[in-house]
């Protein structure tokens, strides 16, 4: 069971790491404005998310007390929720500007 958990954590680390790189590259291409600000926030959240993904299996490996692991888990979930909130804002603004909303 623990092997599956480590495999999932490894996969999460790879995907999140790639996302951090992509977001940082795109950040350099965005001129600014509200979308630029939000993209900066998204990139920072992604970096924290990546850190959380790195620490989770490490905590399991080091047998960190369960309450600390739970705290880490919920913090990562909160970051994910904030990330989605910011992403929806960007998509809403872009669709609104392009007049693609009903």
């Amino acid at each position: 069971m623990q092997g599956i958990a480590y495999a999932l954590a490894g996969l999460a680390i790879v995907v999140t790491g790639a996302s951090v790189v992509l977001a940082a590259r795109l950040r350099r291409g965005i001129v600014g404005g509200e979308v630029g600000q939000r993209w900066g926030l998204l990139t920072a959240l992604l970096a924290l998310f990546f850190l959380g993904c790195l620490l989770s299996p490490l905590g399991l490996w080091l047998q960190v007390p369960a309450e600390w692991l739970h705290l880490l888990l919920f913090a990562v979930l909160l970051l994910g929720a904030l990330f989605i909130f910011a992403a929806i804002g960007i998509i809403r603004d872009a669709l609104g500007f392009l007049k693609l909303t009903r």
């Binding site: 965005i30 001129v31 600014g32 404005g33 509200e34 979308v35 630029g36 872009a94 500007f97």
Partner: protein
């Protein structure tokens, strides 16, 4: 920069049009008055080109009047020429450049330059010392005889300047504020109707575009200046 001639300023603004590689203005005698080409372009060659075009009878016939326009399309680029009433503007752009946008920008340049008093044919000697590029063909063709050129409508006198329309001024503002990022804003302005209501709506859209993707501060400033133009 403070000493740039009106032609040079106009060419610099033209350079902000996406796809434009370089541009120059030459007079009826084939003498280059202002140039905004990258350094890789041989200035002597450009001066030769201007002299040959000005000396060409077909070119003169085609470009007669203030509205003369000639576009030459190539596989990897295009050249647009516009009559400025006694002078010509030449623009070299990449093949991907928007032809309509280029044509509109040239028309705007023509309006702006024709609204000013015609510049002297020969710039003062101090101009070169001030860094203003003055290109002169080394070997002007013998066929160039400005005095014998067919009567060409002169530029309007300074006392009655042809003021560009509000959309043209809005486009100028967009170029001035946004530089090379003005393309989308120019499209929005170009698509606006002639009514003030349509133009105000276009200004709001440009403001939103700039606020979302470029800068909130710049959006407010640009919209304020654009609305002031419409209120005049």
């Amino acid at each position: 920069m403070d000493h740039a001639s009106p032609q040079e300023v106009a060419l610099q603004q033209l350079a902000a049009v996406p796809g434009v590689v370089g541009s120059l203005i030459f007079d009826a005698a084939g003498k280059v008055q202002a140039s905004a080409f990258p350094a890789v372009f041989d200035s002597w060659g450009l001066a030769q080109l201007a002299a040959q075009l000005a000396a060409d009878a077909f070119f003169q016939e085609w470009m007669a009047g203030d509205q003369g326009l000639l576009t030459l399309r190539f596989v990897d680029g295009q050249v647009a020429l516009r009559s400025l009433g006694g002078a010509y503007a030449l623009v070299f752009a990449g093949a991907q450049a928007n032809e309509q946008l280029l044509s509109m920008s040239l028309a705007q340049l023509a309006r702006r330059l024709q609204a000013r008093p015609p510049p002297p044919v020969s710039p003062p000697p101090s101009a070169a010392a001030e860094g203003i590029p003055v290109l002169t063909p080394v070997r002007p063709p013998a066929a160039v005889q400005p005095a014998s050129l067919p009567a060409r409508p002169a530029a309007p006198p300074a006392a009655a300047p042809a003021s560009p329309g509000p959309v043209g001024r809005l486009e100028d503002l967009a170029r001035e504020e946004l530089g090379e990022r003005a393309e989308q804003a120019l499209r929005i302005l170009a698509a606006a109707g002639p009514r003030t209501k349509d133009q105000l709506r276009a200004i709001s859209e440009v403001e939103k575009l700039v606020r979302l993707f470029i800068s909130k501060r710049k959006a407010e400033e640009l919209a304020r200046r654009m609305r002031a133009v419409l209120e005049e």
